[in-house]
């Protein structure tokens, strides 16, 4: 098994050297391997989301190195990091973060359009992805015409669009009722069986149960 993400001695400090200095992450070392399903849990404010953002090259650590498929990202500029996010990483958020003025289909197309895929290829794959998450009948619905569970399925389809190496999910069931959440968990488990790698921040014991690896973050450190 090969490593998709490796974190080495990661520290994240906000307002460093000032009176309101805030140490969010302290000396995090972590490896995520292909095909894994990793659950991160911990109290709120423990630095889980920051950790996920750093893994996904959405945020930069104050110290330490992030390797994505063996490549050191610490010296890369914004646009190179954006390209890594586009090609290697899929994000799923608690708030879904769909673009409200675009239909389900257009939302799923967005990462492929940004990557410069041809229109027909983009459309074809977006339809296929939405069908695979069970929304084949909802292609032209706008986010406000969809239920929470459906929106999260669209978001997952969008995360899968550019065939990422890993999907990073921040409380994907946090905004959903138990039953709907269960559906999303099933979808994630299915995708994991199809060899998609997941890192999931969650309070949901059902996800923690099915995760192969559990990481508990407390006060900016991994506690076992």
């Amino acid at each position: 098994m090969s490593e998709i993400i490796e974190l080495k001695n990661i520290e994240k400090i906000y307002n460093q050297g000032k009176s309101n200095e805030l140490k969010v992450l302290l000396d995090i070392n972590l490896k995520i391997e292909r095909g894994e399903m990793v659950a991160i849990f911990g109290p709120s404010g423990s630095g889980k989301s920051t950790l996920l953002h750093i893994m996904g090259c959405l945020d930069k650590p104050t110290r330490g190195k992030v390797y994505i498929e063996g490549k050191d990202t610490s010296k890369l500029f914004d646009d190179s990091l954006a390209r890594i996010r586009r090609e290697k990483i899929g994000f799923v958020f608690q708030q879904f973060n769909l673009i409200n003025v675009f239909t389900a289909l257009e939302n799923v197309e967005m990462p492929m359009r940004i990557a410069g895929w041809s229109k027909s290829k983009t459309r074809e794959r977006a339809v296929e992805l939405l069908k695979s998450v069970g929304l084949g009948e909802r292609l032209n619905h706008f986010p406000n015409q969809l239920s929470g569970g459906e929106m999260q399925r669209v978001a997952i389809a969008r995360a899968l669009a550019n065939k990422p190496s890993i999907i990073l999910a921040d409380e994907p069931t946090g905004n959903l009722d138990t039953k709907t959440g269960a559906g999303i968990i099933e979808l994630i488990k299915d995708l994991n069986k199809k060899d998609f790698t997941f890192v999931i921040i969650t309070h949901d014991p059902r996800i923690a149960e099915s995760a192969g690896k559990k990481i508990n973050i407390k006060d900016g450190k991994i506690s076992r």
């Binding site: 953002h53 996904g56 959405l58 945020d59 914004d78 646009d79 954006a82 390209r83 996010r85 586009r86 090609e87 994000f91 958020f93 708030q95 973060n97 769909l98 673009i99 409200n100 003025v101 967005m110 990462p111 359009r113 940004i114 990557a115 410069g116 229109k119 969008r158 995360a159 550019n162």
Partner: protein
């Protein structure tokens, strides 16, 4: 890039009213640039036509009436003066003429200019590039015969053989001068002697002097100036300079004023794009999170602002063109306003520039958004 255009169209028409108003802002500016610019373009081409006509001549006018622009009202050049010019060393030919503005007739908004020249000099004008549309030129022996300008013929529905009346005298139309887009279009040309009889004058309005050596035209003008105190001798070079200075001033003035309107339109674009970026802050954060580079965001916002401004520019060009045409129509062809290719390209480039100018700051600030903060923005 195709995808960007598609997205941009979708994005700019999310706020239809705002976008429309912004487009109208640019439209007003650009149509003003086009309409007013067309006037100075028209003047330039009219000037070129006149200059082609005057090239290589010295224009004599009595002092106080400064050359062509005033039409020499009240100037007095006698037969005696003419003979003196003719015998002056270095002078090849003198061409006297008389010009009057015709009475305004009921039902016609614009006066015609009536010019009397010697029949033997008609060839000279022909050699200057003014040719006939139909008929023949004035010939020696012609008295109550006339040449008329293209527009005059058209307006009065005149053909060869028809007769026209000047000061109660009847003249037979023998030739129609081709379209020149200059003053000649609205003219009647009569044999000089008949014209002077008709208007009961002994003197000439003005005289063109043609030098023996074209390269020494300025020297000849200077010599003439020092020999004859009562007259001004203006070379066509002087006139060109004089006229282009006036035309340039008019251009700077008109383009300047209308550019201010257009720049205000550009500020409207900036305002709209700043608002748009603010409203879409969260969405831009999402785009960046799913892999949009800073450059992608920058380009997208710029494409949107240039598109708004270019739509305004194209509509402005059309409306300005219509305005320019109606200006020409209202003034019955006196201002030959024309929308040249250069003016069209210039005004569209200006619109693109305004789009870039208005879009650059909002695009730059959008591209620099921190995705994590932007996503949290509500």
């Amino acid at each position: 890039m195709n995808d960007l255009l598609d997205l941009a169209i979708k994005n700019i028409f999310r706020q239809k009213t705002r976008t429309t108003l912004t487009i109208v802002g640019i439209l007003i500016g650009i149509s003003a640039v086009v309409a007013l610019g067309s006037i100075s373009e028209g003047m330039k081409s009219m000037m070129n036509e006149e200059m082609q006509f005057l090239g290589g001549t010295i224009v004599v006018s009595s002092q106080g009436s400064s050359g062509l622009m005033t039409g020499g009202i009240g100037s007095e050049i006698t037969k005696y003066d003419l003979a003196n010019f003719e015998s002056f060393s270095g002078v090849k030919q003198v061409i006297p003429y008389v010009m009057r503005i015709g009475e305004i007739q009921i039902g016609q908004g614009h006066p015609v200019q009536i010019i009397g020249i010697r029949t033997e000099d008609v060839d000279y004008f022909k050699s200057r590039g003014t040719d006939l549309d139909s008929g023949r030129i004035l010939e020696t022996g012609d008295t109550y015969q006339a040449l008329i300008g293209y527009k005059y013929a058209e307006d009065n529905d005149l053909e060869i053989g028809d007769s026209i009346e000047v000061k109660k005298n009847s003249f037979e139309v023998v030739g129609i001068i081709e379209k020149t887009d200059a003053g000649m279009d609205n003219s009647i040309i009569l044999p000089l002697e008949t014209m002077m009889d008709t208007y009961n004058t002994e003197n000439y309005q003005s005289v063109f002097i043609i030098p023996e050596d074209l390269s020494k035209i300025q020297d000849l003008a200077d010599d003439l100036t020092s020999s004859f105190d009562d007259f001004d001798f203006t070379t066509s070079n002087d006139i060109v300079k004089q006229m282009s200075r006036i035309v340039d001033m008019i251009s700077i003035f008109t383009i300047g004023i209308s550019s201010i309107a257009a720049i205000v339109g550009g500020l409207g674009v900036m305002n709209t794009m700043i608002m748009s970026v603010l409203e879409r802050k969260r969405e831009i954060g999402i785009m960046k999170a799913i892999g949009a580079t800073n450059k992608f965001v920058l380009t997208q916002i710029l494409v949107e602002s240039v598109m708004i401004s270019l739509i305004g520019g194209i509509l402005g060009l059309l409306i300005g063109g219509v305005g320019s045409y109606s200006l020409r129509f209202i003034s019955s062809g006196l201002t030959s306003a024309r929308v040249t290719i250069n003016l069209a390209i210039g005004s569209l480039s200006f619109a693109v520039f305004l789009g870039l100018f208005g879009g650059l700051y909002p695009a730059w600030s959008a591209s620099k958004l921190n995705p994590i903060e932007a996503i949290r923005y509500e």
